[in-house]
Amino acid sequence: MITVSNARKQYGTFTALDDVSVEIPRGSLTALLGPSGSGKSTLLRSIAGLEGLDSGVVTIAGRDVTKEPPQRRGIGFVFQHYAAFKHMTVRDNVAFGLSIRKRPKAEIARKVDDLLEIVGLEGFQHRYPAQLSGGQRQRMALARALAVDPEVLLLDEPFGALDAKVRADLRTWLRRLHDEVHVTTVLVTHDQEEALDVSDRIAVLNRGRIEQVGDPVTLYDRPANDFVMGFLGSVATLGDQLVRPHDIVLTRDRAVALAEDAKVPGSPGVIEAVVERVVRLGFEVRVELRADSGERFAAQITRRDAFDLELHTGETVFARAAHRSSVIEIDPALAI
């Protein structure tokens, strides 16, 4: 388990961490999610000891490590740009932490072989990092970090430098690896899809503060505020509330819409809107609408619903929020 209490970090006039407290349960895979400049990387690097805090306390497995250097924190760290030791072979890279610890040669050889097998790099022992692809380099970096049996594994945008396909593969692979190895893992990402896909807990950061912590489903369905809602998925403004576009139901008949809407407590009501454009995106259809108030928003409906509605540009429809959808009232202070 990792705890961070009242962490503060200032770079000149920029506040990277503003009184951040968070607990990361043992064995979990937690994502620190936020836009750039939100403090997520600073938080991760403070846990690693690569960055010093102005104030606050970091504990790893019950031990106060606030004043400890990275060497004595029992961590494994994976960098966005791999940080591969270029002049060493894959084998020597992975063995580095063990050889620093002066473990017996036979033990090192066995452990390195095991790890290379886990990360799928067996047969690459004698290659140099320059001879590996980006994905392979990052898997090597993971094996290197895991070799020292870290208390916690810290990943700083580990897939950020990879192309989309490799990224998706590695994500699935990391999830499976975590299920096998069970080491407490913290992953920094700005990609909400990655966070929702791979982690079992997400902490959303914004401007040096934690907005909400919880499991992915809770965060998606019951966001604490409009920032979390907007960062985890697309949103549409319906009346004075924020709704997910896929939670908007379109109806031709006002009476039907009103009757259905009455069943939804606290709903934003029924909004009359004109269809501006219908975009077919394969399995789903995006309907771009303009409300009476002039507010533009988009609804995401299924192909089947689109067929049934037979929507055309310029027609009038009635939009409402579906039952049990996530709805956030717009903070009047933030409304534009």
């Binding site: 060497q71 760290f77 940080a83 030791f85 270029k86 002049h87 620093i100 610890r101 970090a145 020292v148």
Partner: protein, 268 residues
């Protein structure tokens, strides 16, 4: 652009002619004069006690200067690239100073500082002679060769970044272990290049060294001083040619080494 054959040949002739007159001819003349009387005469001239002593002294100075420049050069480069401290800008400028200051000025400054009556002149009373002794020549040579290692290592440090060093620290390596296992192997080509330049410059240094050396043959003459003394003082023109050829030979060897290393580096 279409250049006519005449222009092309004309340009080539000018470029080659320029190089020939400025570099080729002087070297050619020296080589011709040196080997004209035969190899035995050449060998006799460079194996006199004074010549052997001069060669040894030059190599000794190189042998002292290079390790010192390596240690301080690498340290300074790391400080300039990795650390933020007050006075960093000043240090950055000071490192380049030896490129700008004439070696003769360096010699004069050293005499003012270490010579009798200088700020540190009292040290002569203890029997440790700086000026007109080996320490003075070493200090002068260090001064003029100071920038090479720093300026060759610095860009390499910039290029490799801090990631690898930080990764090593998260894996348990101390600063010292990180330096030996990660930083040093990463900068080794830049460092080698800096050392080669330092050696070449240290061998050829004349202006600063002549100011602080007593210049006794067989005692405090470096190879460059030997060439100078044989020509000017002894009117031994042939001896000067032979010593110059020896000096050139060593420099050529260093240059060759550099080219080979450079090729090796670009292969990687």
């Amino acid at each position: 652009m279409n250049t006519s054959a005449t222009t092309r040949i004309g340009l080539r002739t000018i470029a080659l002619g320029y190089l020939l007159v400025l570099i080729g001819l002087p070297i050619g003349v020296i080589l011709y004069r040196t080997f004209e009387p035969g190899l035995a005469t050449f060998y006799a001239s460079i194996s006199t006690p004074a010549a052997i002593s001069a060669l040894n002294l030059s190599l000794l100075i190189v042998g002292i200067v290079v390790p010192i420049n390596v240690v301080f050069g690498v340290f300074t480069a790391i400080a300039l690239v990795r650390w933020r401290f007050p006075g960093r800008g000043v240090l950055q400028a000071v490192v380049d100073l030896p490129f700008a200051v004439s070696p003769v000025v360096v010699g004069v400054a050293l005499i003012m500082l270490w010579g009798a009556g200088g700020w540190f002149g009292a040290i002569e009373g203890t029997g440790f002679r700086v000026i007109f002794g080996l320490p003075g020549m070493v200090i002068a040579t260090i001064f003029v060769t100071l920038p090479f290692v720093v300026r060759e290592v610095e860009p390499v440090l910039h290029e490799i970044g801090e990631d690898q060093e930080q990764a090593a620290s998260t894996l348990g390596a101390s600063r010292w272990q990180t330096f030996w296992r990660i930083t040093l192997p990463a900068i080794r080509w830049g460092l080698t290049y800096g050392v080669v330049l330092t050696v070449a410059r240290a061998l050829g240094e004349f202006g600063a060294v002549i100011m602080v050396s007593s210049g006794f043959p067989g005692v405090s003459q470096t190879l460059t001083l030997l060439v100078h003394a044989r020509y000017i003082d002894d009117h031994n023109t042939y001896g000067a040619y032979a010593a110059a050829t020896l000096l050139m030979g060593i420099a050529l060897l260093v240059l060759l080494l550099m080219t080979v290393l450079d090729r090796k580096r670009s292969d990687r």
